[in-house]
């Protein structure tokens, strides 16, 4: 095992787990759990080694000829490490959560098999070194997520699955056309810091068209309005899947892809010159406000969270599509911050559903007394989403706002602050009901000493603490913020 093959090992750790679990009979719970956890921990360790290496300046690369003119290429750079570290950490948390959440449920081999496959694809997306490799893993992610969305097999989840496939396959198609066209126009297109495309010359119109195709294809997963319709429906899936969709893998793959296309394919300067950023920023701003408006009226807790994801994801896109180093920092760091905060919220929704069968916001009166730690975690995440210090969300808002002013786009600050108020308007009622609401009858008592099973409570509390830490220690050496500043400095480098 040479260090160069590290990206491959990271992929394999999930893939092997996936194959092993598919082959496992349904009853071998302990073995399955052991495989899941060992795979998650091994991957985390491998990612940590790779992170350290990349921090020291090393780059790992695995390349093989695939089709003429394009290789399959896995490569680790700071941007891919940002995504991979987030996914590896949250995958471990989600695996533990899922083991607890699905205790006693049917079809768990199938579930965890696809679950691992899903994460393996995400690792591929993050490590992809060119558009072709990116595309392959992007499609694998679509296919391996579908069985998770329809896992329950109910009519609602099958309908959600149909919707999901319709949207994502359409997006995949657009992406494929874009990749092929750009390939024909400009050649191999390995991701390069500062941009891979040669100066456009006569090809500028093709560049613009390809950009539109690529972003539309990626925008489906990133839930840009009007391509977002699948996300709120897909919330019928079990809580760990929601976590996967909303924080660890799927939507992140879209946002990450948009960042890759802008920074490492087109290059932010070229994208700006071609006038590609402004329209994208406008779409993102629209999405931010639209998602929040939709979230206001949802009584179903997970639906409200899903609408909020639509809004919050576009913070990333907005930051990435605003020309300026500070805005880039704000956008990319939200990749991590949104993941941490939103996964906590879905874990909490899962806890409420699992322990007390609560699914609606209007049922949450007084639940803070029965499940204090769960609701404390939710409160931390909600305050972060609103953008209050010291939670991570504040750091995002600060950099996005400052970046927008720096880029001469003060209207973005207006959008951000409107979104803050809207966030408060749909998250604080939940917090209010939990802590200040009055419930007449008693809650059913917990089965054990804790408010909910430790496998559910542990990940919830730990990730909430991480969301807090990402804000409180934002300016320390190994924080997501510092890492992202490194990336942005390179992308805007001389």
């Amino acid at each position: 095992m040479t260090a160069d093959l590290l990206p491959l090992w990271v992929l394999l750790s999930s893939l092997v787990a996936s194959v092993a679990i598919f082959g496992l009979s349904e009853r071998r719970v302990a073995t399955r759990t052991a495989i899941n956890l060992v795979a998650a921990v091994v991957k985390l360790a491998l990612v940590a080694v790779m992170l350290w290496g990349v921090y020291q300046g090393a780059r790992y690369e695995v390349r093989v000829a695939f089709v003429p003119g394009a290789d399959l290429l896995l490569r680790s750079d700071p941007l891919s490490l940002l995504f991979i570290s987030l996914s590896a950490v949250l995958w471990l948390a989600t695996t533990i959560y899922a083991v607890g959440y699905l205790e006693g449920a049917p079809d768990r081999s199938r579930f965890f098999g696809f679950f691992s496959l899903c994460v393996a694809s995400t690792m591929g997306i993050a490590l992809a070194g060119n558009l072709l490799t990116f595309f392959l893993f992007y499609e694998l992610l679509t296919l391996s997520t579908y069985p998770l969305v329809v896992h329950r097999g109910t009519a609602a989840s099958l309908a959600a699955g149909d919707r999901y496939l319709a949207y994502t396959l359409l997006g995949g198609g657009l992406l494929l056309v874009g990749v092929a066209w750009l390939h024909a126009t400009a050649g191999g297109l390995e991701f390069t810091v500062g941009g891979a495309l040669p100066p456009p010359g006569d090809a500028a119109p093709s560049y613009v068209a390809c950009f539109a195709l690529l972003v539309a294809g990626l925008g489906v997963k990133a839930a840009l309005v009007p391509l977002h319709g699948w996300l709120p429906v897909a919330m019928v899936a079990p809580a760990p899947v929601s976590a996967l969709l909303h924080a660890v893998a799927v939507v992140k793959a879209g946002a990450f892809g948009i960042a890759r296309v802008i920074y490492d394919v087109y290059g932010v300067r070229l994208a700006d010159t071609l006038g590609l950023l402004r329209p994208l920023a406008a779409v993102a701003a629209t999405t931010i406000v639209y998602g929040s408006l939709r979230a206001l009226t949802q009584d179903d807790l997970k639906r409200r969270l899903a609408s909020s994801t639509v809004s919050q994801l576009s913070y990333i896109v907005l930051g990435v599509a605003t020309f300026g180093q500070i805005a880039t920092v704000g956008g990319l760091v939200h990749l991590v911050h949104q993941g941490l905060m939103k996964i906590v919220m879905f874990f909490c929704a899962g806890n409420l559903a699992d322990e007390l069968e609560l699914h609606r916001v209007s049922e949450l009166d007084g639940v803070g007394r029965r499940m204090p730690l769960t609701m404390a975690a939710f409160t931390v995440a909600a305050l972060g989403m609103i953008g209050l210090p010291p939670v991570a969300g504040f750091v995002t808002k600060w950099y996005l706002g400052a970046g927008a002013l720096d880029a001469g786009a003060p209207w973005v600050v207006g959008v951000l602050l409107t979104s803050s108020l809207l966030n408060a308007a749909y998250f604080l009622p939940i917090v209010y009901r939990a802590w200040f609401g009055v419930r007449r009858e008693a809650w059913p008592p917990p089965a054990g000493r804790l408010e909910v099973r430790p496998t559910l409570l542990g990940p919830t509390v730990v990730v909430a603490a991480l969301a807090l830490a990402a804000g409180v220690f934002a300016a320390t050496e190994l924080s997501p913020l510092r890492w992202v500043e490194l990336i942005a400095a390179q992308e805007y480098g001389p």
């Binding site: 149909d162 209050l388 604080l428």
Partner: protein, 583 residues
């Protein structure tokens, strides 16, 4: 500089936070309630310490926060803030008794205390905003403590307005920062002065901090609603200490002394004077002493706004204007805080001696607030009058300030009259108030009186001009009261303006805004539905679903996903093998 002096600001903040953390352990809660007054002691010691403390830098924490050096402004604010929290914590213990939610009260109380002290001690933009937000949110918990409908309504109005204010403040901070750097507070005024957006920043600060100050009409509406419903110690703290944090925000972030902003300054002065009169006029019509006092706070904060306005207009006068405003804030904090605390002491169970002592104390506090000759209030008002000489239309402003003092006289008379009526009420619960409630109050009133007697700088106050200025509004006010009393005997009654005055009009507006919001949301729903319908016509999903179902039929049973999964994994494995082979 010793280590203790450097760490003192951190200690002052850590004390309430640590106590709040101890509340998690049920067995320690009673201890926390007893120890709460002590949490203000490090801050008080820091305020009174002769040596200046050095700024404490915490690199790495939240965009490199700093706790600032204790400058003159911080020292002034810290003194009255710490004293007020100490006394309020002391009396809150007796006030709560065995209230079932007392643990929750202490949690909010200690958090709000940390926030309030943190705002004063903050050394940079981000930590100011952090503590300001902590205080804002924690104060909500104090306001809704009683969980009555009125408290919940007041809490809701407060929270909505506070968040609105916070968001505007954040916009101002971002504009002031320019490039995203977290500026030290000492560098902010110069940065704002140099910013091309100085005017916009000023407007954002006016509205943003104005919500908290309560004197920027119509952003004051939360104040008369929140004060009567909050528990007495919280009431005292809201008016005494917490709304002053907004004032401190102005002193910290406006380019005072760096840039002349005559238009903004005039707006500050005009709004301040408007609030001074509005508070008096609406306040005297109230039927609850607590609401009258709340309106009096609006009026008094308006006077402080005048000082800020002068500093904005005339940079040369900014240093003395700032000091005058800080002194006025300290004077008002103690007098108003004690008046609010007295509303909890007073009741039908008081004995004869108690009534007499209370009457003396209340009378003294009222005279203080009116600024009667030789009181601390007279001193504060005199300083403010000196400052206004540097601003626009000095004669007019000075005259209006004196007229405002008539209003204060009326408000105080109304308060005392309403409180006296409370004593005569039939006793619902007999028995004198517990010593824990009146002792802190009496101690502080006595201390205030004694300090006044000891080190009053009477010189300038004894000049005939100053003496006359302090006396005539009081006399005029008394005349008005006499006339009103005569009218009242003939059966004339004051009209009552509902507490929150213009909010009643806003409520209609708010309902309309809510309807608009709902319409917007409906609209979004319809757009979504339209998209859905269009998709349904395309029936892509349907076709795919049919294809999917056909596949389902191909291999039915639970195993089907396992098979598909293995195929996918094989595909995946093929890719990986390719990669591995090429490496």
């Amino acid at each position: 500089m010793s280590a203790l002096a450097t760490l003192a600001p951190a200690l002052a903040l850590a004390a309430p936070l640590l106590l709040a953390a101890l509340l998690v352990v049920p067995r320690l809660r009673a201890l926390v309630a007893r120890a709460a007054p002590l949490a203000a002691l490090p801050a008080l010691a820091l305020a009174l310490a002769p040596a200046a403390s050095a700024p404490l830098e915490l690199p790495g924490v939240l965009l490199d926060v700093r706790l600032g050096a204790v400058d003159a402004v911080a020292r002034g604010f810290l003194t009255f803030t710490a004293i007020l929290w100490l006394v309020a914590a002391w009396s809150a213990h007796a006030y709560l008794g065995d209230h079932p939610r007392r643990a929750g009260f202490w949690a909010w109380f200690l958090l709000a205390m940390a926030g309030n002290l943190g705002v004063v001690l903050a050394g940079d933009q981000v930590s100011f905003y952090l503590w300001y937000a902590v205080m804002s949110l924690a104060a909500y918990g104090l306001i809704v403590h009683d969980r009555t409908d009125a408290a919940r309504h007041a809490g809701k109005v407060y929270l909505i307005m506070a968040l609105l204010g916070d968001v505007l403040v954040l916009a101002a901070l971002l504009l002031a920062s320019g490039g995203g750097d977290n500026l030290a507070l000492a560098a902010v005024p110069a940065a704002v002065a140099a910013s091309p957006h100085a005017g916009l920043i000023g407007v954002l600060l006016l509205a943003g901090f104005g919500v908290k100050v309560g004197a920027v009409l119509p952003l004051h509406v939360w104040l008369p609603l929140a004060h009567p419903v909050a528990p007495a110690p919280a009431r005292a703290l809201l008016s005494g200490a917490m709304i002053k944090a907004g004032l401190l925000g102005w002193l910290r972030f406006l380019p005072l002394g760096e840039l002349a902003q005559p238009a903004l300054g005039a707006a500050w002065i005009a709004l301040g004077l408007t609030a001074a009169f509005h508070g008096a006029v609406v306040g005297v019509t109230q039927r609850d002493a607590k609401t009258v006092l709340a309106y009096s706070s609006i009026s008094q904060m308006g006077l402080m706004m005048v000082g800020v306005g002068v500093a904005l207009t005339a940079p040369a006068a900014a240093p003395i204007a700032t000091l005058a405003v800080v002194a006025f804030a300290g004077h008002h904090a103690l007098a108003k805080g004690l008046l609010f605390l007295a509303t909890a002491v007073i009741g039908p169970g008081l004995g004869r001696l108690g009534r007499a002592l209370l009457a003396v104390g209340l009378g003294w506090l009222a005279l203080e607030l009116i600024g009667a000759p030789l009181t601390g209030g007279a001193e504060a008002k005199h300083a403010l009058a000196v400052v206004t000489a540097h601003g626009p239309r000095p004669a007019l402003v000075a005259a209006l300030l004196s007229v405002a003092a008539i209003g204060t006289t009326l408000l105080m008379a109304r308060t005392l009259w309403l409180l006296a009526a409370r004593v005569r009420e039939p006793a619902a619960s007999a028995g004198p108030p517990p010593p824990g409630l009146w002792l802190p109050w009496a101690a502080l009133v006595a201390a205030d009186l004694a300090l006044r007697l000891r080190d009053a700088s009477l010189g300038p106050l004894l000049e005939p001009g100053a003496l006359w200025k302090a006396t005539w509004p009081l006399a005029a006010g008394l005349l008005v009261i006499a006339a009103a009393a005569a009218l009242a005997r003939r059966g004339a009654r004051l009209p009552q303006v509902p507490a929150g005055d213009v909010l009643v009009g806003f409520a209609g507006l708010g309902a309309r805004a809510a309807a608009f919001g709902r319409a917007l949301a409906d609209r979004a729903e319809r757009v979504d539905a339209g998209l859905r319908a269009r998709r349904a016509r395309l029936d892509l999903g349907g076709r795919l679903a049919r294809a999917g179902r056909a596949l389902d039929r191909l291999d039915d049973g639970a195993a089907r996903f396992g098979v598909v999964g293995l195929v996918l994994a094989a595909l995946f494995g093929g890719l990986v093998a390719l990669l591995a082979g090429g490496a």
